[in-house]
C-alpha cells in the first residue's frame, strides 16, 4: 500500500470497532504518514456530534419550512399558505347550515397549486368538463360528477402514444393535471381507473387519499370515506391527512361517535400533527351537549 492508497475499508472497520489486529497494524502504518486519514478517524466523533440533533432544531425546522413555503408560494400562483384543514373545517361547519354554503367553500385545490412546478402530463385522459378550466367553473354537482366519472371509466380514450393500458405513473399524472385544472370529477375518475388497473402500485395507494380529499371537497363524504378507508388500510406517507379527512367525512355522514374516535386516533398517532389543534376543537364540539 502506498501513501496515496487510502484504506477506506479499514477506516470504515475502525469506525465500526471491527478491526482485526493485522488490519489495525496495516491501518496504523498508513495513519503515521497520512494526516488526512488520521484526521478523519480522530475527528469522526466530533463531526458526528456536530450534525447531531439539538434541542432547538424543531423550532429551526419550523421557521425554515414556513419561510420556504412563503417563498415558494410567492413564486407561484398559490395564495399564502393556509392549511387545507381550515377550509375543510369551515366547509364542515357550513355543511351543517346548508350544502349551498359548503359548495362555496369546497373549492378544488387548483387555485392553490403551483403550475410552474409541475410538468404537463403526456395527454389528458379525457377532455375536461365543458368550461371546467377554473375552480369556479366546477361547482360540485353529484349527478354531473357521476356522469363524468362514468364516461372516463367506460370509455378511456387512448392516445396515439399509447399501445397498451396507461401505466400507473401516467394515470397518476393525469389525475394530478385534472386536479390542477379544477376538473375534480374527472380527476376522481382517473384515480379510480388507476385503482382498477394497477391495484398494487404505489401511485394507487396515494390516489386513495387524493380521491378521498377530492370527493370530500365535492360534498360526497360517503364516497370520500371509502377512499380514505382504503388508503388507511395500507398506510403511507399522508396518514395525517387521510385520518383528518376520514374524521370529517364521518362527521358529514352523521356518524359523530365514529368521527370522535377518528379524531382521537389522529391525536394518538400524530400528537404533533398540524391537524392536532383542529382535532381537539372538533372533539370538544362533538362532546358538547347537543341543543
Amino acid at each position: 500500500m502506498t501513501l496515496d492508497d487510502h484504506p477506506e475499508e479499514l477506516i470504515d472497520l475502525a469506525l465500526a470497532g471491527a478491526l482485526a489486529d493485522a488490519e489495525r497494524a496495516t491501518l496504523d502504518r498508513h495513519l503515521v504518514a497520512c494526516r488526512a486519514c488520521a484526521v478523519q478517524l480522530a475527528h469522526a466523533h466530533t463531526f458526528a456530534a456536530a450534525i447531531a440533533a439539538q434541542p432547538r432544531d424543531a423550532n429551526l425546522d419550523r421557521r425554515a419550512i414556513e419561510a420556504a413555503m412563503g417563498r415558494v408560494a410567492s413564486a407561484t400562483r398559490w395564495s399564502p399558505p393556509r392549511p387545507g384543514w381550515w377550509r375543510w373545517a369551515a366547509a364542515g361547519v357550513l355543511l351543517t347550515l346548508g350544502s349551498a354554503g359548503a359548495a362555496l367553500l369546497a373549492r378544488p385545490a387548483s387555485s392553490r397549486t403551483p403550475p410552474t412546478v409541475v410538468a404537463p402530463p403526456p395527454a389528458p385522459a379525457s377532455p375536461p368538463p365543458s368550461g371546467a378550466t377554473s375552480a369556479d367553473d366546477v361547482a360540485p354537482s353529484p349527478p354531473t360528477a357521476d356522469a363524468v366519472e362514468a364516461e372516463v371509466l367506460v370509455a378511456p380514450p387512448p392516445t396515439s402514444a399509447e399501445a397498451g393500458p396507461p401505466t400507473a405513473a401516467v394515470l397518476f399524472e393525469r389525475g394530478a393535471e385534472l386536479r390542477r385544472r379544477g376538473a375534480r370529477a374527472a380527476a376522481v375518475a382517473v384515480y379510480r381507473r388507476l385503482q382498477h388497473l394497477h391495484p398494487t402500485a404505489r401511485e394507487t395507494r396515494l390516489s386513495f387519499a387524493l380521491a378521498g380529499r377530492l370527493l370530500l371537497d365535492a360534498g360526497r363524504p360517503a364516497d370520500a370515506l371509502v377512499q380514505f378507508d382504503r388508503y388507511l388500510a395500507g398506510g403511507g406517507g399522508v396518514d395525517e391527512e387521510a385520518l383528518a379527512g376520514r374524521a370529517r367525512a364521518l362527521e358529514q355522514v352523521g356518524r359523530s361517535g365514529d368521527a370522535a374516535a377518528a379524531w382521537r386516533t389522529l391525536l394518538d398517532r400524530h400528537p404533533q400533527s398540524i391537524y392536532a389543534a383542529d382535532a381537539r376543537a372538533r372533539l370538544q364540539q362533538l362532546s358538547a351537549p347537543q341543543p
Binding site: 477506506e8 488520521a38 475527528h43 440533533a53
Partner: protein, 214 residues
C-alpha cells in the same frame, strides 16, 4: 458514526431493512404528493426531509454557523423547485442530500466574511460556554479541517464532506453524486492527497484520542 442517510431521523443500523424500504417508499409518496403542488402536501414533505437537510447543512457549514437557518431554508426551496426534475429512480434522501450539500457549500463560500463578522458579534454578546480544553481543541481542529476541505477542488471537496464530515460510504456517495464508484474513489484519493498536503502545511495532526480505532 452518525449517518445522514438514516431513514429520516434514525440511524440506519437502528432500523431493519424492511423498515428502511418502507420509509423510502413513504418519502417517495410524499414527494409525489408535493409534486402535485398542494401547499399542505408540500409542507408535509418538507417536514419529513428537513432533518436531513439540517444535518447536511450543519455538516458542511459547521455547528453554530449563523447562516444555518437561512441555508436550510434555501435548501428547502431548492428541493421544491427541483422536484419536477426528479425521476424517482433513486433515493429521495440522496437527492435531497445532494441538493442540500451543494447549496450549503456554495453558501459557505459566499458568506465566509459575513459569517466571521457575525460570529465576532456573537462572541461579544454572549459568554462562551464552559467546555473542556480538549474538547475545545478538537472542535477548533475540526473546524479547521472543514475549512481546509472547502479549499479543495469542488468535486473533491463535495466528496470529502460527504465522506469525512457526514460519514457516508463510498457507495452512498456514488448514489448521491450520480457518479460511478471508481470516480468517487478517484475523487476521494485526490482529495485526501490534497487535504494531506494542506494539513502538513498547517502542521495539523490528528488528536491522539485513539477513539474509533477499534
Amino acid at each position: 458514526m452518525a449517518r445522514v442517510t438514516a431513514g429520516v431521523d434514525e440511524a440506519p443500523a437502528a432500523q431493519p431493512a424492511s423498515n428502511r424500504a418502507a420509509d423510502a417508499d413513504e418519502l417517495a409518496d410524499l414527494a409525489r404528493a408535493a409534486l402535485d403542488g398542494a401547499p399542505d402536501a408540500v409542507r408535509v414533505f418538507l417536514r419529513k426531509i428537513s432533518p436531513v437537510i439540517r444535518r447536511t447543512c450543519r455538516g458542511a457549514l459547521g455547528p453554530g454557523h449563523p447562516d444555518l437557518e437561512d441555508t436550510v431554508q434555501d435548501c428547502l426551496v431548492d428541493v421544491v423547485q427541483a422536484l419536477p426534475k426528479y425521476r424517482f429512480e433513486g433515493s429521495v434522501l440522496h437527492y435531497v442530500t445532494k441538493i442540500s450539500l451543494r447549496r450549503a457549500i456554495a453558501s459557505r463560500r459566499r458568506g465566509t466574511a459575513r459569517a466571521q463578522h457575525l460570529r465576532l458579534l456573537e462572541d461579544l454578546q454572549e459568554s462562551p460556554p464552559v467546555v473542556d480544553d480538549n474538547i475545545t481543541g478538537e472542535r477548533e481542529q475540526s473546524e479547521t479541517v472543514r475549512t481546509l476541505i472547502r479549499r479543495l477542488h469542488p468535486q473533491q471537496s463535495e466528496t470529502l464532506v460527504l465522506r469525512v464530515v457526514l460519514g457516508f460510504s463510498i457507495e452512498e456517495i456514488a448514489a448521491i453524486t450520480n457518479a460511478p464508484v471508481n470516480t468517487v474513489k478517484t475523487r476521494l484519493r485526490l482529495g485526501k492527497n490534497a487535504l494531506r498536503a494542506l494539513l502538513d502545511a498547517h502542521a495539523i495532526a490528528a488528536l491522539p484520542t485513539g477513539r474509533g480505532n477499534g
